[in-house]
């Protein structure tokens, strides 16, 4: 962690405010998360119960339960945005790092939620129509939904333990040892709470008679007992981490749970319906202190880590800031350059190799073993240039430029032609050559050059495989001087080697033969 640093932009609020808001909205979010999960579990359970328990009446409990799923899940998602925003701003490094370590699972959340939501909501409308189909989709939906909190818990457990990040990576991006244990029981603790909240909600809002109420009370009591059991296990894993403040809140939460159990017991004794306000108050009395306990333990891990981060951020920012002015100037000059004309494209995309004068002597020419072509000497067709621009020249540095659309490449060709008439036919030879010399040169061309250049000037079977291949003389030629130069000195870096052993006038003869091969 010695040189890990934070994003070098000011936080919009102080850490205290960010944490306070985070806690508030996280609590709100959790209420609806618990209701969503609880509703999902109960709806599937009561579906099974009514399907195989012989209850097939029209107004079944599962149908009434699932109807509200739409509202719960929507609010759970929407209310999750604020804590996500706040934790990403307030605890940027731990949170994003944890997310990244579980990136594939984290992104899978989107798919899981869509599958689950669509299945629950559409099938919720048609429970009686296709019971078997509903069963399959219901189970898939529930299964998808239950994976989501497991991923969130894994991310939070990871974010809270920066010292374990390298261990997680070493174990193939998986939680391991005590962290895995902590994750499992925290996840189960969320499910337990969901049962209690879901059962309480539907006890008041979905049940129609005493039997149904009694059945949901069983879920509530079962849930609370499960929570106590899981809570004890979780607490043992926190020993030493929970300070006195955290312990006080934990204690308040436990008292809340005991009171809730007692209220339910009284209700059962007296056969009276529970009071909604009493239950709601007690549930909040459990949830809020429990989440506060979580928050305090989390902060204890975060504070020293983030202090170190801050110091590192300043150091890195200082090193980088020295370049700020230069970067802005560069940016300002760049955003005014529009690549919509051949001239700009040449200067920006070609000149560093082919040179300011198009003579192939650009600033990078020295770094290339095959020197860039001297464009002032090129005599070719529009079509052939376009082919080179869109395909590059394999085996050389010359890339393809399909990143520019056709109009731009055409305009580049026009620009080259305007400056160095690259689309003309090659000029006549600067020397006079007799017919007999042409015959002599022709013989040499046929015997030697056709290995690679073909009698018609096109590529041969052999030369097609060269890296880079030779040009096609039927559409591409060079000024006579340049062609003579290449025949004499070769083209370094390619198969074309120097033929300076041939008499000078024979070489001029070869130039003529080659340049006469232009059919277009």
């Amino acid at each position: 962690m010695n040189n890990l640093y934070d994003i070098p932009l000011e936080k919009p609020l102080s850490d205290e405010w960010l944490n306070g808001l985070l806690f508030t909205f996280f609590t709100l979010h959790m209420v609806f998360v618990l209701l969503t999960i609880g509703t999902a579990i109960l709806s599937v359970y009561y579906f099974l119960d009514s399907r195989w328990g012989g209850k097939t009446n029209e107004l079944r409990l599962d149908k009434r339960i699932i109807r509200i799923f739409m509202a719960h899940k929507s609010l759970a998602v929407v209310l999750g945005i604020a804590p996500l925003l706040l934790i990403q701003v307030g605890h940027t490094i731990p949170f994003f790092t944890a997310v990244n370590l579980f990136a594939p699972f984290w992104m899978l959340i989107i798919v899981l939620l869509i599958v689950s939501f669509i299945s629950f909501d559409t099938l919720g409308h048609k429970i009686n129509v296709h019971p078997d189909r509903h069963l399959i989709f219901g189970i898939i939906a529930l299964f998808s939904l239950l994976i989501v909190p497991a991923i969130f818990v894994a991310v939070l457990v990871t974010a809270e333990n920066p010292d374990k990040w390298l261990t997680i990576i070493a174990h193939g991006y998986k939680l391991h040892g005590s962290l895995a244990y902590l994750w499992l029981f925290r996840y189960l603790h969320v499910l337990g709470a969901a049962l209690v909240f879901g059962a309480a909600f539907h006890y008041f809002f979905s049940t129609k008679d005493e039997t149904e109420k009694k059945s949901l009370l069983k879920w509530m009591v079962g849930g609370i007992l499960l929570q106590i059991f899981l809570g004890i296990i979780l607490y043992t894993s926190l020993l030493g981490k929970a300070d006195s403040v955290a312990n006080v809140f934990l204690f308040i939460g436990i008292i809340g749970a005991a009171l809730l159990l007692w209220v339910i017991y009284l209700g059962m004794e007296r056969r009276s319906t529970l009071n909604i306000w009493a239950v709601l108050t007690l549930l909040m009395l459990i949830l809020v202190p429990m989440l506060l306990t979580r928050q305090f333990i989390q902060d204890k891990n975060f504070v020293p880590f983030e202090k170190q981060l801050q110091a590192n951020t300043h150091a890195y920012q200082k090193a980088v800031q020295a370049y700020n002015q230069k970067a802005l100037e560069k940016y300002k000059s760049e955003i005014n350059v529009v690549y919509d004309n051949g001239e700009t494209i040449y200067w920006k995309s070609c000149a560093f190799c082919h040179g300011e004068n198009m003579d192939g002597k650009g600033s990078e020419a020295g770094n290339l073993s095959i020197s860039p072509e001297d464009l002032t000497t090129v005599r070719t067709t529009r079509q052939y240039l376009h082919t080179i621009f869109t395909g590059g020249i394999s085996g050389s540095a010359m890339p393809y430029f399909t990143v520019f659309d056709k109009y731009k490449l055409e305009s580049l060709i026009d620009y080259l032609d305007k400056n160095h008439h690259v689309l003309s036919l090659p000029e006549p030879l600067p020397v006079n050559i007799s017919d007999s010399l042409i015959k002599q040169s022709q013989k040499i061309y046929t015997e030697t050059c056709t290995q690679c250049h073909g009698i018609d000037g096109k590529l041969t079977a052999l030369s097609k495989g060269f890296q880079p291949p030779p040009p096609d003389f039927s559409v591409y030629s060079l000024s006579p001087e340049r062609a003579f130069d290449i025949i004499t000195n070769g083209y370094p870096g390619t198969v074309m080697y120097p033929f300076n052993n041939l008499p000078e006038d024979v070489r001029w003869g070869l130039v003529k033969i080659i340049n006469d091969k232009r059919t277009k």
């Binding site: 932009l9 925003l85 990403q88 869509i114 090193a319 760049e334 560093f352 290339l368 399909t402 890296q467």
Partner: protein, 454 residues
């Protein structure tokens, strides 16, 4: 960078975000704003004309719409965020700090929007008779909220394209009310109603309805579509007129991709066909021709969604090499940081590379440099594969090109790292393209594990 790196194998990071985002835009614009507005209008007609047909249509369409909005629209919206947190943490993290307040206010508006929508849905059968009027007002307040939430998010999106004064003054207002804010907002609104009208037509034509009513409703949706689609064309023109030429000039290539960039006629033809079909369905719908509308509705919807995709793709693509103009490149390297790394070394300053890589060989060094510099857009062996991009180039050619990516291809960021690191990456890419290094679509670039190498 201060974060570890994950890349989606094969699909690539950009495409992953794009798939989710386009789905979200289609639903959030077309259904959440457009369709629900027409549902409220239909409900109003049902009330004013005491028509059961309008009332039934509105209610059934709402049921379908709300399931899709809350099940897919909302989730993919949050999904954009979930994906960027995993794939571009430095980018989204920085955006969140600058736009914390609009995002926070947007969240409040959005929450209200969803609450009102749920109340609107759950009270449909309860607020009847005298209270029907209130129910319609509730629908109207939903529309106001949904447009406000579009207002807030548009400022943030426009910033990424036309940041204008922000890189210099770093003030929130110049970032939010950037030059493309208003045209983009109006364009999105027009798009929402156009798409909403098409979805309404599709639902109308695909469900059981009385003939006379079907014709009447079709005419209404046809008119709405005609007006909003015409507006869409005007606002598109306005929007593109404020986008800086430096970005705009690559629009055709952005849509056609390098594979078809030399056939611009495809671009014009497809757009022309799309516009033609959409005006055609508008005319048939206004005439009340059920059978012709039925034939055209599927291609019309596809073309309209195609236009959405085209617009978003262009918007994302033409902002070029910047994730935040004047501040951060698309590969999450800051503009000034890039100059610093060029002098100092990228690998030396890479916390995660140094902590988890035990072997400084060319595969590890090269793949990490690739991941930081290129993996925002390129993959190894998947979409926009880097092997294909450098195939055929000589090693010294790759080295030279890497030094000029930013000026040579104006929408590519520069290579950040020292000359020595540029040489390492050139060698790595050269060997990769020529099969001397084989890496199986990795999702983590540092270190490349033994079973991912060959």
């Amino acid at each position: 960078m201060q974060f570890p790196i994950y890349e989606v194998p094969y699909l690539g990071n950009g495409m992953t975000i794009a798939l989710d985002a386009v789905l979200h835009v289609i639903i959030s614009h077309g259904l959440a704003i457009g369709a629900i507005t027409l549902i409220v209008i239909s409900e109003y007609f049902g009330f004013r004309k005491s028509s059961n047909d309008w009332e039934h249509f509105a209610k059934n369409f709402l049921k379908f719409t709300i399931i899709v909005i809350t099940g897919i629209g909302v989730v993919t919206g949050v999904g954009i965020w979930l994906i960027t947190s995993a794939l571009a943490p430095n980018g989204i993290g920085s955006m969140l700090r600058i736009f914390f307040w609009p995002w926070f206010i947007e969240w409040i508006v959005f929450t209200l929007e969803v609450v009102v929508l749920l109340v609107y849905y759950f009270t449909w059968d309860k607020w009847i008779g005298e209270r029907k009027k209130q129910h319609i007002y509730l629908g109207v307040s939903y529309i106001v909220l949904s447009v406000s939430s579009a207002f807030l998010i548009t400022g943030i999106l426009g910033f990424m394209l036309t940041s204008d004064g922000w890189p210099w003054d770093k003030s929130f207002l110049s970032a939010f009310f950037n030059p493309s804010f208003l045209p983009q907002l109006l364009l999105r609104a027009a798009l929402a109603f156009a798409l909403g009208a098409l979805f309404s037509m599709a639902f109308l034509l695909g469900t059981h309805n009385v003939n006379a009513f079907r014709k009447e409703a079709l005419r209404l949706f046809g008119k709405v579509f005609f007006i909003s689609f015409s507006a869409m064309i005007v606002f598109t023109w306005w929007y593109f007129s404020v986008v800086p030429s430096v970005f705009k000039t690559h629009a055709i290539m952005a849509i056609l991709t390098p594979g078809f960039s030399q056939r611009p006629e495809i671009f014009y033809a497809m757009n022309a066909i799309g516009v033609f079909i959409l005006f055609l369905i508008a005319l048939f719908a206004i005439k009340g021709s059920v059978s012709f509308s039925r034939i055209l509705i599927v291609p019309a919807l596809l073309f309209c969604m195609g236009f959405v995709t085209e617009f978003e793709r262009t918007r994302e693509f033409i902002r070029g090499p910047y994730l935040m103009p004047g501040y951060m490149y698309a590969n999450q390297v800051l503009l000034d940081e890039s100059l610093f790394l060029e002098k100092d070394s990228m690998l030396k300053n890479a916390y995660w590379y140094n902590t988890i890589t035990d072997k400084a060989d060319i595969i590890n060094q090269g793949s990490y440099l690739f991941s930081r510099n290129c993996s925002a857009c390129h993959t190894i062996g998947g979409i926009n594969s880097i092997q294909n991009a450098v195939k055929g180039r000589s090693e010294d050619g790759i080295f030279v090109i890497l030094g000029h990516t930013h000026e040579m291809v104006p929408f590519m960021p520069p290579f950040s790292g020292t000359e020595q690191e540029r040489r390492i990456m050139a060698r790595f890419l050269y060997q990769l393209a020529n099969g001397r290094i084989i890496i199986k679509a990795p999702s983590r670039f540092a270190p490349i594990k033994e079973d991912e190498r060959k």
